[in-house]
């Protein structure tokens, strides 16, 4: 089992049979259970897996930056032929930052808020090189310039809070690369960023990899991210690498059933088929006790008794495709997986009655400053949005962070009041109503939170949580409420015994089911779901999306699904609205908007969302939307997108394009120069 996965000469980094444990209290969690991998110079290795698969802890083991109680209990970590495991702490300090650079997920918490960014980069240089203060500062400017920080010489005096998320991540990369390491470990480097910024950052990492001839380990949960940038991909499950192959090989001819299940759960694989997403039944393994056999066996449809008894040894095929499975998938002569599915018909029609209509909605948040909290300006979060939501339909609202999509959702659910404009619900304007009438009307529109755990009182049992909407609204009596709670649990596929448990005792997916059940408790007509699956792993995400769809078929409920993830929105929505900086820039039937976008921003979003299709991802590598979202306190004149738009002309700055329909059955778009749509879908 410790046999090397490929016959290549000793690479830059070679991990052999690595074991890592974390002890907390009287339990020991076996987080890494025998990982073998190698990375060569100039190569990008992607490590993918769901949360708890051990991918991050493998990366942290290399740097020996394990959480409290964590310890490497076996194996070797060879960097350029030298084993890092027996190294002393001070010896390892020279390696960290000097020979291996690391980029973390959250740049804000990894940067010192009280130090100028130039000083933080210079600090990294001075830790590893004997250079003067001035030389280090010069090097800082040079590196910041390399990572694409505009006007680096001026920006070195900025503090982290003055930078956007994308710029902060560039600083983190600059710190990691300040001493020109041989190896860069990037742990979910773009997970906290918007897709257009994600693409910029991945581009920076890739360019620097080539310029510096570094090895890169890219740890991510996103199968789309690795598709475009990794040379090889390792899939982890239960603290082990279950399959490794060259990217193209893995994305078409995967052999391990877990890898296949991950692909099948992606929403883009089921678009338009009208079929539910394929899910992975069961739960991830409990790593606090040693696992006998293959960790995936309890969830695997192909598993045999042998899988449950012993861990399969590695099988290496030609080309270095290696996997641990007794019952691998066969791809003999099989056609590669269809990337684009056939369109299906039968979605609810436009004739369905309108449930909610927004008319010229505006929302501004005051900006106060100083001791007296004087109002110095306002953030224009929503600026004149009109849209209507029809019965039984799903309206998908997409856009980057700060575009106002969540604000619209909150206004719809009555959590926020608009500055001006109307929210018409069956003819009543919710924006103008107060008191008991508003309270009763709002029963019909319920909100589902992104993080159900945060949205549930930790001191209440699930039963009380589900009954709370009825208690607040004084609907139903005690026995009827109890019956309704049981009915709701049944609807979302949970056992009745759940009523007595507390929120922290459920898994992420179960909590999201509870969140959905609570939103349904008052039998609303419309559920506003804010990023309903963005915190979940792919397999769990598929379960929740399926559930939402099934419930819609049964009850003809309408959804507004707010998400930054276009593939999720595309899968679940009938109508898509694309927002940019408080404006609805394009709205129309989901397939039309996705398939033939007319607004340059929609086009850019579609091009930058990573999809699990390596050749397509590589082809789109250069389709990057530059710049960052403009300030909402002082939005650009005319079209708000013009500062980033490749087609912007003078008219875009002087007059604001109205939202106008392109034709019957097509989308409406707010652009002076809508993209020409040719019949084959290219633009």
């Amino acid at each position: 089992m410790t046999q090397n996965v490929s016959a290549a000469p000793a690479g830059l980094l070679r991990i052999e049979d690595l074991h890592t444990q974390i002890r907390s209290g009287d339990t020991t969690v076996h987080v890494v259970n025998g990982v073998d991998l190698h990375v060569d110079r100039g190569e990008v290795l992607g490590i993918v897996g769901e949360s708890g698969s051990g991918k991050t802890l493998t990366a942290l083991s290399v740097m020996r930056l394990l959480p409290h109680g964590g310890r490497i209990t076996g194996g070797r970590i060879m960097l350029d032929g030298r084993d890092l495991v027996p190294l002393s702490e001070s010896g390892l300090r020279r390696v960290r930052g000097g020979e291996i650079g690391m980029v973390f997920q959250d740049p804000m918490s990894s940067l010192n808020p009280t130090m100028a960014i130039g000083d933080q980069v210079a600090e990294a240089v001075r830790l590893h090189r004997r250079v003067s203060r001035r030389q280090a500062a010069a090097r800082a400017v040079e590196v910041l310039d390399q990572v694409g920080m505009p006007a680096a010489a001026r920006r070195v005096h900025d503090y982290p809070h003055q930078l956007s998320g994308g710029m902060r991540q560039r600083v983190m990369i600059a710190i990691a690369l300040a001493c020109e390491p041989k190896l860069l470990i990037a742990d979910e480097p773009t997970t906290a960023l918007d897709v257009t910024i994600q693409k910029q950052i991945l581009g920076v990492i890739d360019r620097l990899r080539r310029e510096l001839d570094m090895g890169v380990v890219l740890v991510t949960h996103d199968l789309g991210v690795v598709a475009g940038y990794a040379d090889r991909v390792a899939v982890m499950y239960g603290g082990r690498i279950v399959e490794t192959a060259a990217t193209d090989e893995l994305y078409g001819r995967e052999r391990h059933p877990y890898t296949a299940a991950l692909f099948d759960a992606l929403p883009e694989r089921a678009v338009n088929t009208g079929e539910p997403l394929r899910t992975i039944p069961g739960q991830p393994p409990d790593l606090s006790s040693p696992i006998t056999g293959c960790a995936f066996a309890p969830r695997c449809v192909r598993a045999t008794d042998r899988c449950r008894a012993e861990f399969p040894a590695v099988t290496v095929e030609a080309g270095g495709h290696a996997y641990h499975c007794f019952v691998p998938l066969e791809h003999v002569g099989a056609a590669p997986r269809a990337a684009v599915a056939e369109p299906a018909a039968g979605r609810p029609s436009d004739e369905a009655p309108v449930v909610v209509e927004l008319v010229d909605l505006h929302k501004e948040f005051p900006v106060n400053r100083g001791v007296l909290q004087r109002r110095v300006g306002s953030v224009s979060a929503v600026a004149g949005v009109s849209l209507s939501i029809r019965a039984g339909q799903t309206f998908g609202l997409v856009g980057e962070s700060g575009c106002g999509k969540t604000t619209i959702g909150r206004i719809l659910a009555g959590l926020e009041r608009p500055t001006s404009g109307r929210v018409l619900y069956h003819g009543d304007d919710l924006a103008g109503l107060r008191g008991a009438r508003r309270k009763r009307l709002l029963r019909g529109i319920q909100f589902m939170f992104q993080d159900s755990y945060a949205a549930m009182d930790p001191r209440m049992r699930a039963g009380s949580i589900l009954a709370e909407p009825m208690r607040v609204q004084r609907s139903e009596d005690r026995t009827a409420r109890r019956a309704r709670v049981e009915e709701l649990l049944g609807q979302v596929g949970m056992a009745r015994g759940a009523v007595r448990r507390y929120p922290h005792e459920f898994s992420g997916g179960q909590r999201q089911r509870l969140g959905l059940a609570r939103a349904l408790a008052l039998r609303p007509e419309l559920v506003v779901a804010d990023e309903p699956v963005s915190a979940l792993d792919v397999s769990i995400q598929a379960q929740i999306l399926n559930l939402m769809r099934d419930l819609q078929r049964q009850t003809a409920i309408s959804y507004v699904v707010i998400s930054h993830d276009l593939s999720v929105v595309r899968y679940i929505s009938d109508v898509i609205g694309v927002m940019y900086l408080g404006k609805l820039v394009e709205v129309g039937p989901a397939e039309i908007v996705y398939g033939r976008p007319a607004h340059p921003y929609t086009r850019a979003l579609i091009d930058t969302v990573p999809v699990a299709d390596p050749p397509r991802e590589r082809a789109r590598r250069n389709q990057v939307l530059g710049g960052e979202i403009a300030s909402a306190t002082n939005p650009p004149s005319g079209c708000r997108f013009r500062t980033r738009c490749p087609y912007a002309a003078d008219v875009c700055a002087s007059s604001e394009p109205p939202l106008r329909p392109l034709g019957p059955g097509l989308q409406s778009v707010a652009c002076h120069f809508p993209l020409e749509v040719s019949p084959d879908g290219s633009t």
């Binding site: 659910a413 949205a455 549930m456 009182d457 909407p469 179960q510 609570r518």
Partner: protein, 308 residues
């Protein structure tokens, strides 16, 4: 239809998964209790408090002494037969007096702390939840009251009212509620923007419902910690007032007054009038502080053992 997590049938040939549904859910209180018990100092503090309470309230039933009539034949007797801890300057049995004095100190301390915390918590929660101008006004009131020196205020009160147990309770509560008010206001500011409070608003719940259903119960940790520290502080305050001669008038007694009385004789070598009440005050205050520390840790959710 796909199988969901909750309805997965057990697979043959596998050890059964832990029966989560069957087991009674661990309540947050029980989880907190578990952490509390793991803290040895807290258990020590709790044992001490129980012993002190037994000593003060059950002791007199077993050990009978006359704490009403002075006995000038037997003043300042050293510890010995008949008087295990000696007698004081007017002939009261010192051990019996410790018990009687302890009753006053504990009753006043406990009652004052509870009243102060209860009023302060509700006051702070309302200020924090309503916010805006109301919050500004309510908090300026506490600021003004806090700027008055406590001792000065206590002296003023004691000259206006004739000292008695209820008066002591009210006076100490009046100076003590400001701290919990500020604390709970701060806590409310963070709790009211929690998503579960917003979720309740989305269901149509109003301010009072949210305040008493979600905000205050989730601030219970802070409140509980505050109560224990307040009790310790109030016992010290009783002692301080009595020490200054503003405590309960004789023949009633409390530890602070006894200590003050004993200090008059410090040059006469009557140590049994000084150390026992002093020790009683220190032990009680320390015991409550230990408990307070442990209560704070118990409500710190990350210290709770998470069920795997």
């Amino acid at each position: 239809m796909t199988l969901t997590e909750a309805e997965m049938p057990p697979r043959p040939g596998l050890p059964a998964a832990p029966a989560q549904e069957g087991r009674a859910a661990a309540s947050p209180i029980r989880a907190a209790l578990k952490v509390f018990v793991q803290n040895r100092l807290a258990v020590l503090g709790l044992v001490l408090v129980v012993l002190i309470v037994l000593f003060c309230f059950v002791g007199p039933l077993v050990y009978h002494t006359d704490q009403v009539h002075t006995n000038l034949d037997q003043v300042t007797l050293p510890p010995g037969a008949g008087h295990p801890v000696g007698t004081d300057s007017v002939g009261y049995d010192e051990l019996g007096r410790l018990m009687a004095g302890g009753q006053t100190s504990l009753e006043v301390g406990l009652a004052a702390a509870l009243i102060a915390t209860l009023f302060g918590s509700v006051y702070g929660a309302i200020a924090g939840y309503v916010g805006g101008v109301v919050d500004g006004l309510m908090m300026r009131v506490t600021d003004i009251l806090l700027s008055i020196p406590t001792l000065f205020f206590l002296l003023l009160m004691a000259t206006i009212f004739r000292p008695s147990k209820p008066v002591l309770i009210i006076v100490i509560a009046v100076v003590s509620w400001l701290i919990p008010a500020r604390l709970i206001r701060g806590e409310t500011l963070t709790l009211k923007i929690r998503e579960y409070v917003q979720a309740a608003r989305g269901m149509g719940a109003g301010g009072p419902y949210n305040l008493f259903q979600h905000v205050l119960p989730n601030a219970i940790g802070t409140i509980a910690v505050n109560v224990t520290f307040q009790i310790a502080d109030a016992i010290l305050a009783v002692a301080a007032m009595s020490y200054l001669g503003l405590g309960v008038p004789p023949p009633a007694a409390d530890w602070g007054g006894m200590l003050s009385d004993g200090v008059n004789y410090s040059y006469s070598g009557y140590w049994w009038l000084i150390y026992p009440p002093g020790l009683a005050i220190v032990l009680t205050v320390v015991a409550f502080n230990f408990i307070g520390d442990a209560v704070r840790d118990s409500f710190e959710s990350r210290l709770r053992t998470v069920r795997g």
